[in-house]
Structure formats: C-alpha cells, structure tokens
C-alpha cells in the first residue's frame, strides 16, 4: 500500500530547488475535489496500486476518482466520481487496481492534513494507524461528474532540447518500439526498459528539468521525470510529455508496456 497526501501548489518553489510535487494525475485529483465541492487545489489522498483501508471516526462526505480499486464502504461496492456520505465508524476500503494505477480520495472540507508528513520535503507514505484530520464545510456545492479515466497505451511526446543528440536510429526506435515502465519507477521518475538508445553527445553542465521531461542516462535507458523530480539534471533531455499527456502516463501501472509517439 502506498498512500500519500497530495496538493497542487502555486508556490513557485522550483527556483529554490523544491520539487514541483503534487498529484500525479491532476485531472483525476481535480475531479475528486470538484465532486465533493472543494476548491480544485485542496489536499487529497493519492493511492498507488492498492487501496488503503480507512476508518472514519466521524461522519464525512467523500469522493473517489482515478484508478478503479474496487472501492467499498463496509464491504459494499461504491460508485466512483460521486459524492458519498459515510457515517462514524464506516470503513472505506478496496483491493488492487483493476483499471489505472492511481486513485484519489477527496474529503469535503478544507484542511485535510497529516501531522506526520506536514513538513517533509517529499511526500511521505501514510503509515498504518496514522490519524488524518480535516475541517468539514457544509457550505460547499458538489458537482456531479460521470467521467471515468481512460487508459492509453500510446503516449505522445515532443522533441526535447537535446533530441538531436540521439543518433538517427535511436530517434526512430524510440517512437516505434515498446518500453516497459519498470518496478524501479517512483514519483521521482519512471525508469523505462526497452531497446537501448544512443546519444552522440553529452551535456557539459546540468540543465533545468521538469515533470514530463524524458532524460537519457549513459546506459541508454530513458527516464521520464515525474512530479517529485529534482529541478536540474545532467542527462540529455531527448523529449518531453505535455502536462495533459502526463496524467495519462501516470495512470499506466508499473511493469506494463507503453509506446511513445513522436508529435510536432
């Protein structure tokens, strides 16, 4: 189980080398918040791969979006993307994901927080028995949404600043062959495995990197920089995935294959 508290922020902290961080699938995160009537950028739980089990010590209004983890309350299946009321002592749970990779749980109210991970640089996984608190707000107006996520097997990418460092064969290989998102991937980066790519040059100084940039380390296996990536890196930036496409990419489970399609 890997569940963390996420929040999209506007704090411009990359200048001081803080990772952008925030939700891996912004669209689903935003939807969960909208459905319960929260401001779009409210804190929410991001669950990766497997659902957590959460007991509510008080009544709550919540919504689940993103990956389908066969969500239940007290063992009964619940619909996703819908505002749901639960009572004191209700148990929200689920199983392994059957569609997608990351689910979002938004709880109506505004300051969902965990005292444990409050001051961490990187999001820290919620631990068993950890208590989360929030302030319910009665005044919010929930939206209704019935749009589940779509899983894509092909992700579009654009040429990065050092795309021309790739030899011609590698340029064509990267947009025609399959790559596996290995289990060594995390929120910092997706490590890909597939045909080796060759760069004819290396960078002399490190350059800015942002989530979505595809870097090529000397071993020839590309890495897609993700939400918690550092702000500079020394490997050629051969391509990049747009913010919109990155939401799709981050819903592909580890150990699955993906194709990259070069677009202009």
């Amino acid at each position: 189980m890997y569940t963390i508290l996420v929040q999209a922020s506007n704090n411009r902290a990359s200048y001081y080398a803080f990772p952008q961080s925030g939700p891996m699938d912004f669209k689903s995160y935003k939807m969960a918040n909208l459905v319960v009537g929260n401001p779009v950028q409210s804190p929410a739980l991001e669950c990766t791969g497997t659902a957590p089990t959460i007991r509510f010590n008080t009544q709550a209004t919540l919504a689940v979006s993103g990956a389908d983890m066969q969500w239940t309350i007290n063992g009964k299946t619940i619909p996703m993307h819908t505002s749901i009321h639960c009572k004191k002592d209700d148990i929200l749970s689920g199983k392994n994901t059957i569609y997608g990779f990351r689910s979002y749980i938004a709880i109506r109210g505004n300051s969902l927080e965990s005292m444990v991970s409050k001051h961490a640089v990187y999001p820290t996984p919620i631990k068993p028995k950890e208590i989360l608190s929030w302030q319910d707000s009665e005044t919010s107006h929930p939206h209704v949404s019935l749009h589940p996520i779509t899983i894509k097997k092909t992700i579009s990418f654009l040429a990065g600043p050092e795309y021309s460092f790739l030899d011609l064969n590698s340029q064509s290989v990267f947009s025609t062959e399959e790559y596996e998102i290995t289990s060594k991937s995390n929120r910092i980066g997706a490590r890909l495995d597939g045909p080796i790519l060759r760069a004819t040059k290396q960078l002399v100084t490190s350059r800015p990197i942002i989530p979505g940039i595809i870097q090529l380390p000397p071993d020839g296996k590309p890495i897609v920089c993700l939400q918690d990536c550092q702000t500079t890196g020394g490997y050629p930036r051969i391509g990049f995935i747009t913010r919109e496409q990155l939401d799709y990419f981050n819903q592909i489970p580890h150990r699955q294959k993906v194709m990259f399609k070069h677009i202009d």
């Binding site: 990359s14 080398a17 640089v121 990065g160 800015p208 702000t231």
Partner: protein, 231 residues
C-alpha cells in the same frame, strides 16, 4: 520549436518555446547576467509564469496553462533588471577536521591538506545554481587544481551540513541524502529553509571561514541559518 531573440537590459537572450509547456532562455554573455535575469523573473512574480528554474547556463520558465508564447514574451519584457538589489555575500563556517575524504583528495590534487584549506579559505565562491535537493548549494570559483573526479561508488548517506568537492564544484548538503562527492568538512549552519525563503539565490557570493571543532560545536548548538552567521 519556436525561437526568438529578446533584449533584456543590455543582454541578448535566446528564447526557445517548447509547445508552451516550458521555455528555455540562454545567452552568450556572462552567466552572471543570466542569473540576474533569473532572479528578476522569480522576484517579479509574473501572472503568466508558474515557475522559474535557474541552472548554470540556462533558465527554464514554466508558463501558466493557456499562456501563449507571445503573451509570455511581452510579460518577460516587463521585468526591470535594475530593480534587483545587489548580490549578497554570505559566510560559510567550515570545520575541515570533519572531512572524510582528505586522503583521496590529497592524492588526487598532489597537495597537503593544509595548503588545500588555505586555497579554499582565500577563494571567493559564487552560488552558481541550486537543484539536486533543496538546501544543496553548488558553488563555483574553486581553483582548478582542486577539481576532482566524483567517488566511483556514491555513498548511500551523506549527513546534512557536509561540505564536499565534486568536479569543479564545492557543494554543501543542506539535507541528509545520498551523495558521490569528496567530503572535506562540515558546516554547523543550516542552508535548508523549510518555512521561509532562503537568504541566498543563484549569484550570491559565499566566503568560507575555517573553524575549529570547538567552534563547530558551539555554533551547532545555536542552530543558526547561514544568514545569521557573520564570520
């Protein structure tokens, strides 16, 4: 990819647009001027800009969603470079007795520990960029004779406060992390700011003050940030 030239102050900047997802700024002039532009862009807090990253030779701007290249260029053109306050100078106390890799460094540079410390204390360093982790400082200005290869196998854990040499840089670890640089000492002051904006920025001048183990312990107990230490 669209590319434009822009005159900012008296610096010609090459601006490359990557599908409105990010924009890169480079310049053939002195990297210090690029750092100054980076700082102005950050401090101006422009509505069109979501984030700014300043690396040694390149600035990356992440525009807000939906901001087109032309609007962004107009917005960048409004920054006032002369409004930026002068570059600040900070003092970094370093206890060289706490270095772990003196032996390798003496061998690689063919110099004694004493003469290396002497050289470092006389040098003026510039914070060239940030980036590995928050609180980690990349300092340039180290004499070429001290440039050295990184460790062949990185350490899984480097203590916060470690001062180390990697390639042409002197580095300060603000947080505990893995690391592949040669440790030459430790600083008792904090460079990682969790609650406030750091006192440094790319372009800040950093001067090293060599301190004894006793002073190290005394300063450590005071729990100071780098800007609270005045040499």
């Amino acid at each position: 990819m669209e590319s434009r030239s822009l005159l900012l102050g008296n610096v010609i900047v090459e601006v490359k647009n990557f599908k409105d997802e990010f924009v890169l700024l480079t310049s053939d002039s002195n990297p210090r001027e690029l750092r100054q532009i980076g700082r102005s862009l950050f401090e101006a807090q422009l509505d069109a800009i979501k984030d700014v990253v300043v690396s040694e030779m390149e600035i990356c701007i992440i525009p807000e969603l939906g901001i087109g290249f032309d609007t962004l260029l107009l917005s960048i053109g409004t920054i006032e470079l002369d409004k930026v306050s002068v570059t600040n100078t900070l003092f970094l106390p370093v206890c060289f007795d706490l270095g772990r890799d003196w032996k390798t460094l003496e061998e690689q540079s063919n110099m004694t520990r004493q003469s290396i410390i002497g050289l470092l204390s006389q040098s003026e360093f510039e914070l060239s960029h940030l980036g590995f982790m928050p609180g980690f400082l990349y300092l340039t200005g180290m004499p070429e004779s001290l440039h050295c290869e990184r460790l062949s196998t990185p350490r899984t854990l480097v203590e916060s406060g470690t001062v180390a040499i990697g390639g042409k840089y002197l580095g300060v670890y603000g947080l505990q992390s893995p690391g592949g640089w040669h440790s030459i000492g430790a600083t008792p002051v904090k460079t990682y700011y969790s609650q406030t904006l750091p006192s440094y920025h790319p372009g800040s001048i950093i001067k090293i003050v060599s301190i004894s183990l006793e002073t190290f312990e005394l300063l450590k107990a005071k729990d100071l940030y780098i800007h609270e230490y005045h040499g």
